[in-house]
């Protein structure tokens, strides 16, 4: 898809029917004990055959042992996967929805945009999309243009406004993707809902911006996890409670959280 960035298409019709944008699967390579554990992969999109879901596309950046092995698989190889897991992004109840993606954090947003714009339906039973939406825009930031993945696909979604940012200015705005969010918030038509996925500092910055303008904001967290279904208690994040914070499992209570639920200042 881009430098070090791959798409993996898995034929799994039943799972494809169930998943909603923002949910994830655990994926591993069968028969290997190194790498041993599954890794969480967000839905990039489902693909259809004869108008019905036939399987799932995942997008991933090669960062370690598992993703490196996955990138060497060939067509027809088998993977093990379990899911769909976690809670996806909510069906937007906003007029202007803005999606903020940092790096490989863009993966959930093709499906989010297609669903929000009524281009594709997800879930079993299918989730209804409210008619309240006036606009959906995606702000997508990466290190440099070589890492921009799936831009043509985002452009192919009718009605999706795409704004790009690169750290080095090689394509689009030179600087942080959160600069684009700030610009939108200060415009005449600010977003009234923001979905974020990407590196933690970016999401925290986006969450602070939204909070200071009373804009509803959701974050999709990534956290090291061993199982994906709540058994291992690895992937905890600090959730705000009346008396401070408590650890909650990202895999079963997230990975999508409302930003104001999280105890982002606690480290």
């Amino acid at each position: 898809m881009a430098r070090d960035t791959w798409r993996m298409r898995v034929e799994c019709a039943e799972m494809a029917r169930q998943i909603v944008p923002g949910q994830f699967f655990m994926v591993r390579i069968p028969g290997l004990s190194d790498p041993l554990l599954g890794r969480p992969f967000a839905l990039y999109d489902i693909y259809e055959r004869d108008g019905v879901p036939a399987g799932i596309d995942f997008g991933y950046l090669v960062v370690g042992k598992m993703t490196s092995r996955l990138s060497q698989l060939r067509v027809g190889d088998r993977v093990e996967l379990w899911g769909p897991l976690g809670n996806g992004f909510p069906v937007p109840e906003a007029r202007r929805l803005m999606l903020i993606a940092g790096g490989i954090g863009q993966t959930p947003f093709l499906a989010v945009a297609r669903e929000a714009l009524g281009r594709r339906h997800y879930g079993s039973p299918q989730r209804a999309v409210p008619r309240s939406l006036e606009s959906v825009s995606l702000c997508y930031g990466v290190r440099s243009s070589a890492y921009q993945a799936g831009v043509d696909e985002f452009r192919s979604v009718p009605g999706l406004e795409l704004k790009l940012a690169t750290d080095d200015g090689s394509n689009g705005h030179r600087g942080f993707v959160t600069d684009l969010l700030r610009g939108a918030i200060e415009s005449d038509a600010p977003p009234d809902a923001v979905y974020c996925c990407g590196p933690e500092p970016m999401m925290h910055a986006a969450a602070r911006l939204c909070a200071s303008h009373s804009i509803a904001c959701w974050l999709s967290l990534e956290s090291p996890m061993a199982c994906g279904f709540g058994a291992c208690f690895s992937c905890v994040t600090k959730v705000a409670t009346p008396d401070g914070w408590d650890y909650r499992r990202t895999c079963v209570e997230g990975p999508v959280f409302r930003a104001d639920q999280l105890a982002l200042g606690e480290h």
């Binding site: 004990s33 599954g38 090291p224 061993a226 199982c227 279904f229 058994a231 690895s234 408590d246």
Partner: protein, 347 residues
């Protein structure tokens, strides 16, 4: 060392009626766990009797609810839910796990909601699953173990207590498991506080696990679980820091299986106490290795994370393997390993 007579089974490892079963299991799973006492897989660990030797290890199976989409609970020999402490514990800072070569390190730090929440939120569900429930508990001192045993001992339906005297991830938590005198005292205290069978889960992070196992036996334990995780560390050299938020963690997974097998056999050869083998078990071959090395039952741990229905399948595979091998009763293979020097298990 003198070789022991195999027929001498001081811990009642015979199946209940001494008869082998020719019944093919698994056509109807509901049939499988019936109290008919003729399954070839039934095992007894002193006062604890299990429908089959395949348990799931504490801390790898949540409170079972997390697993319900993946597994048929009533096929398992038993479930050991996540460790319970007297009070809620937030657990350790993140990252809490990191994968290592053929294994993983964890430092969860006994994140749990405490005994009251276990009793009110989880126990009724666990007891409805049609399998033995073994509650795993950890206390900071002997009194905390005893108090939890008193309360859990009054709850009908719990099959046994497993004492986590071996968690490497909590300060002061490991002392009971590394000091023979303390281990014996805490086991004896729990034995005196309830009528439940008592299992001591032992740490491998000691000079002589045999000495601790003997102490647990002296304290009155019905069985010992061998082993908990091996303490380790992963390093991020660029940041000059450990990878895990807590610094050290416990190693589990296939990487530790040889260590676990060695320790199971060492205990089996020296101490007359039933053993539950734990450590890196993935396949039915692994299960057989542990049984032969002296384990009367096994716990599936890390594998639950990446093969969440695997433990159920192992039960069927074990039955089929024994059938193929012409073994009428799993107890016939337990502790049958012979070491090069002629020594063997005390069974």
């Amino acid at each position: 060392m003198r070789e022991k007579v195999v027929e001498n089974r001081p811990y009642g490892l015979m199946p209940r009626n001494g008869q082998a079963s020719s019944r093919p299991c698994f056509d109807d799973p509901r049939e499988f766990n019936k109290e008919n006492g003729v399954s070839r897989l039934r095992v007894r660990l002193n006062r604890l009797e299990l429908a089959n030797p395949v348990l799931v290890a504490s801390g790898t199976f949540g409170y079972a609810r997390e697993m319900q989409a993946f597994i048929r609970f009533d096929r398992l020999g038993g479930i050991i839910p996540k460790t319970i402490t007297p009070q809620p514990r937030a657990g350790n800072p993140t990252p809490r796990t990191v994968e290592t070569a053929s294994g993983m390190l964890n430092s969860i730090g006994l994140d749990n909601d405490g005994l009251d929440a276990f009793l009110s939120k989880h126990l009724e569900y666990l007891l409805s699953l049609g399998t033995s429930v073994i509650a795993n508990v950890a206390g900071k001192n002997r009194d905390e173990f005893v108090q939890m045993a008193e309360r859990l001992g009054k709850v009908p339906g719990i099959a046994a207590l497993e004492l986590n005297i071996s968690c490497p991830n909590v300060a002061h938590g490991v002392d009971f498991g590394t000091n023979a005198k303390l281990a014996a005292e805490v086991v004896a205290g729990v034995r005196g506080a309830c009528d439940l069978p008592v299992i001591a889960k032992l740490t491998p992070n000691v000079t002589s696990i045999v000495e601790i196992a003997q102490a647990a036996a002296d304290g009155g334990a019905d069985a010992v679980s061998v082993i908990n995780t091996i303490q380790g560390m992963a390093v991020d050299w660029r940041r000059r820091k450990p990878v895990l938020g807590a610094g050290f963690g416990g190693l589990s997974g296939p990487a530790i299986k040889p260590v676990a097998l060695r320790m199971v056999f060492q205990v089996a050869r020296a101490v007359r106490i039933p053993i539950i083998g734990v450590g890196g078990i993935q396949t039915v071959e692994d299960v057989m290795e542990f049984l032969v090395a002296g384990a009367s039952a096994v716990q599936i741990g890390t594998a639950n994370f990446y093969n969440p229905s695997g433990a159920e399948h192992l039960v069927g595979q074990l039955d089929a393997l024994l059938e193929r091998e012409g073994v009428a009763d799993v107890n016939e293979v337990i502790g049958t390993l012979r070491f090069p020097d002629g020594t063997g298990c005390l069974r």
